[in-house]
Symmetry: C2
Subunit: 269 residues, 2 copies
């Protein structure tokens, strides 16, 4: 991580709507990580009955607040009212969008202006995990399974600008096992428990599994356990990061890194 | 094309900097096409010595001009002064960016918000050409060769949101011929004269060639001729659109279609 400017401590805000268990868990992890690296963090929790205009009002005040250098919306926003989540994500001031999920940031990523955008934290974390293996990725063939707006499609862009050849597949791809088998690098973010089998994977491939799926498990007190999108037991001979364990914590680490790189506003120091 | 609102004639402006031969040619084609479909068009030509701030000033007035419903910058901007082209493209008001090249539009495309963005004209034209063949494209494998910011990378997104599986290659891709050979649909926009050979192409593939390359030809008065990125003579058994002829005019047609869909501003009618 980059050195912080002495005397400057960036302020982060996390905006939550509703009270989902998974969101509460992710936020508690982010709060803890922020504290550990010296980021001042503010958690704003709006109730389940919040309206879109109340959320927008709160966002406007965060956009204008000079002590908030960046903020994120914890998705999904959970309200009894209909929300245009896309519009709410786009209402974050681009210079504060440390999650990098607004259209303007996605567009900069899509066009390869990597120095001028916040790279979304999950794809950024996946790339860091891939690079950590020490394998040179330029000119290798990467396969991304999943076309979600916040992981798959953005992962394609990030890999492409790192000079890999990239195939993007989705759950409806014909002969998916054959497509997967071409990947020297495989990133799976499709949200289907253990869909990718061990014999689909090219020997020696780097496998990053972003799936977080709950499946029934009577041996657990919670009668469920978390599995990824890749059948780990069959794939563990590959260079695979297990779920739970890999992509999630890396996403949080990348958020902290993006945020630590925030500069003081003009005149603030 | 969609029906125009009676009595409403959308105004288009084309901003050119410098006096490049190719830009003059493309603009003359656009002016003619606009006239044919009843679009009022204004051609603004700034001199080669124009500065970035002069271009921005002109753009501000186009952004504010209520008779201009959309405008494009003819790229490349050709000035003796250093230009940040990306910033200048992004200074077009999003609701007037009929070429769809600003980051905010690219981001909406990258995230699949196709109903809320201007789809860039060349990728949009390529998709129309592909659809014109009548071949169902969902679940087919498309290969895009070329990672340019205005064609290749955006073409990936557009094909993905049309449910194809997409591989994006570039000029440094390893075993490019083998990658190309997997494409049921092949879009080439790499800017290398006749780089893709006939035997690289999967039999029966749909081939869209976006290349416009000049090669020496002593049999012509101009001692040069235009060739595509695909070696046409070897590929003509495929479903290929020849260069010159296909992608360029379709780009112009798509610009006109995007622009005709422009609505009157509130209070204008």
């Amino acid at each position: 991580m980059k050195e912080q400017v002495p005397g400057f401590s960036p302020g982060l805000a996390i905006l939550q709507v509703g009270n989902r268990d998974d969101s509460n868990l992710y936020i508690s992890v982010k709060l803890k990580a922020a504290e550990e690296v010296g980021i001042k963090v503010k958690h704003i929790k709006l109730p389940y009955m919040a309206t879109e205009s109340e959320v927008l009002e709160c966002m406007t005040s965060l956009n204008e607040d000079l002590t908030v250098h960046g903020f994120i919306e914890q998705l999904p926003l959970n309200s009894e009212n209909p929300f245009n989540t896309e519009a709410l994500v786009n209402a974050i001031a681009p210079e504060k969008d440390v999650d990098g999920l607004s259209s303007i940031n996605a567009g900069k990523l899509a066009k390869g202006d990597l120095n001028d955008c916040f790279i979304p934290c999950t794809p950024k974390g996946c790339l860091e995990l891939i690079k950590e293996t020490g394998v040179k990725i330029a000119r290798r063939h990467a396969v991304v399974v999943g076309d979600s707006k916040i992981v798959g499609a953005l992962m394609h862009d990030l890999l492409l600008w790192n000079h890999t050849t990239v195939t993007t597949c989705h759950s409806r791809t014909a002969n998916l096992n054959e497509e997967v088998n071409k990947g020297d690098i495989l990133v799976v973010a499709v949200g289907q428990p253990e869909m990718v089998k061990g014999d689909w994977i090219k020997p020696g491939a780097i496998v990053i599994d972003c799936g977080i799926n709950y499946v029934p498990d009577n041996t657990k007190a919670s009668v469920r356990r978390v599995v990824g999108d890749v059948l780990y037991n069959e794939a563990k001979e590959s260079f695979i990061i297990p779920i739970p364990g890999g992509a999630g914590p890396m996403t949080v680490a990348m958020l902290m890194e993006s945020h630590r790189e925030r500069k003081a506003f003009p005149g603030e120091m």
